[in-house]
Amino acid sequence: MDIPGLFNYWIVIFLMMTGFYVVIARGNLVKKIVGLNIFQTSVFILYISMGKVEDGTAPIVIEGAKGVGAVYSNPLPHVLILTAIVVGIATTALGLALIVRIKEAYGTVEEDDIFAQDEAE
């Protein structure tokens, strides 16, 4: 197996699982959002890695004779992921806003405490 050649993808898997684990295992809501962020970031790297073309340069048109036959990276995944980053930021912002409201309503951001308070009602 070509481990160095697939380095980026190993990183993606590592980050993805780390983030996923944090989301599942942590009871603190803020930490859950952090985990969710790591999880989403891994996908950004996945997309950016697949846009890489060997010996490709940044996808900005090179003027003149130097530009003839130039190899560019695939810009489409980059653009897609810009959109996904915006979505990720919106999700994080909304998640944090909800946490603020939860803190106001329950006085805590620990899942166990919130659960206990709901059970007590």
Binding site: L36, V43, M50, V87, L94, G95, I102
Partner: protein, 493 residues
Amino acid sequence: MIAANLPALQIVLPLIAAPLCLLLRRGNLAWALALFVSLAAFAIAVALLTQVLDSGAISYELGGWAPPWGIEYRVDVLNAFVLLIVAAIGAVVLAYARRSVAQEVPTSQHSGFYTAFLLCLTGLLGVAITGDAFNLFVFLEISSLSSYVLISMGRDRRALTAAFQYLVMGTIGATFIVIGIGLLYMSTGTLNMADLGARLPAIGANRTVLAAFAFLTVGATIKLALFPLHFWLPNAYAYAPSAVTAFLASTATKVSIYILLRFFFTVFGPTFEAEEITLNNLVVPLATIAVLVCSTVAIYQGNVKRMLAYSSIAQIGYMMIGIGFGTVTGLTAGIAHLFNHAVTKGGLFLVLGCIVWRIGSCRLGDLAGLGRRMPLTMFAFVLGGLSLIGVPLTAGFVSKWVLVQAAIEQGNWLVAVAILAGSLLALIYVWRVVEVAYLRPAPDSAPEAAEAPWSMLIPAWILIGASIYFGVETSLSLGVAEAAARFLLGGAG
């Protein structure tokens, strides 16, 4: 000019109206604008469906860029039908929302509520109409993010935690979908779904494509709350404002089912081998368990809204059984049930909203004696309940009947029995409500309760009436569903 641009207008109208609602600030003005726009969206959806039925699929090139490079809006029988469901439910719920929201949501948030509602509508319509896989993800997130906001506006503080839980689950689901789309792009170099469908067979089922398939399946099933990935749903539905519950219950999960259908049958194609295995060995058993387990859980709920939420998961099970069979009859049943359940459950949640409006609670015990005090409302509940059970002459019967036929066609008696058992369980949980409301006298301490206002009762009755109407007149529900099923299995490779 307008006729040629209908697919774009379907999305652009609510998208532009949403921020305008926020600028209007006055709740009633925002409501009027939202209602107007949703009615327009409904009219467009009707026009699109008639156009598709007359002359076949419509392809709309956004900004004049030809597919597969540009984003294409592609309207065929299946998504024209989904567009119609979403737009119709959106319009009815908005007509209903004014009084309900006025009571359940603080005044300062009213314009924000209608903004989020319209954004959610935009997102759901967008998912249904777009022919581009990544565009689908973006619209999915628009609808999801706004639905988290809508759910968190519920009166109970548990609405906040429910919204948060949904946010985490929903984001994981959507991220899985985007990973799947990424892997597909990696192996084919295209994002247009029809183009993907044309290119994938040549590539075959290599590991990247299989991984993409797995991610897309799991992501979509989280979003549509297939058992056992349904844990976000009961709380989200139980604590959201009444109008939001009615809207999300009848549209959000249905659109997610559409996503699954689209990926399974247009992108991967019905001949994709891993898909057959997944459908037969994973989807059908899980969906059958969903029907039995969640119907049983529904019986033990003390909160009627929560009970209907569990019933929704069971009903999603019915749809997924039909889709899991992967035959024309099965798919027809699944798609027809999608429509019938949207109408029925939307109506039931609206009726429940009327009750909450009057007595401020939807705990089962508080419903005692309501049959006499709110006769029209409770009668609507009974009719909706009958459709949920699947009594003949209601919409629920039609699709369940076809579903049982599909199961027998497959020789799958176990599933056929489970479908019938699910109906019996539904009879029990609907009966519990009917018994309390009609046979138990109201306690003396009960607050005065009269009929809910007409502006709420009429929309609720429109949906309940529709669930009876489509039990008798099946050409729209069953006819279009069958056309869509044939299209999915035959037309798209």
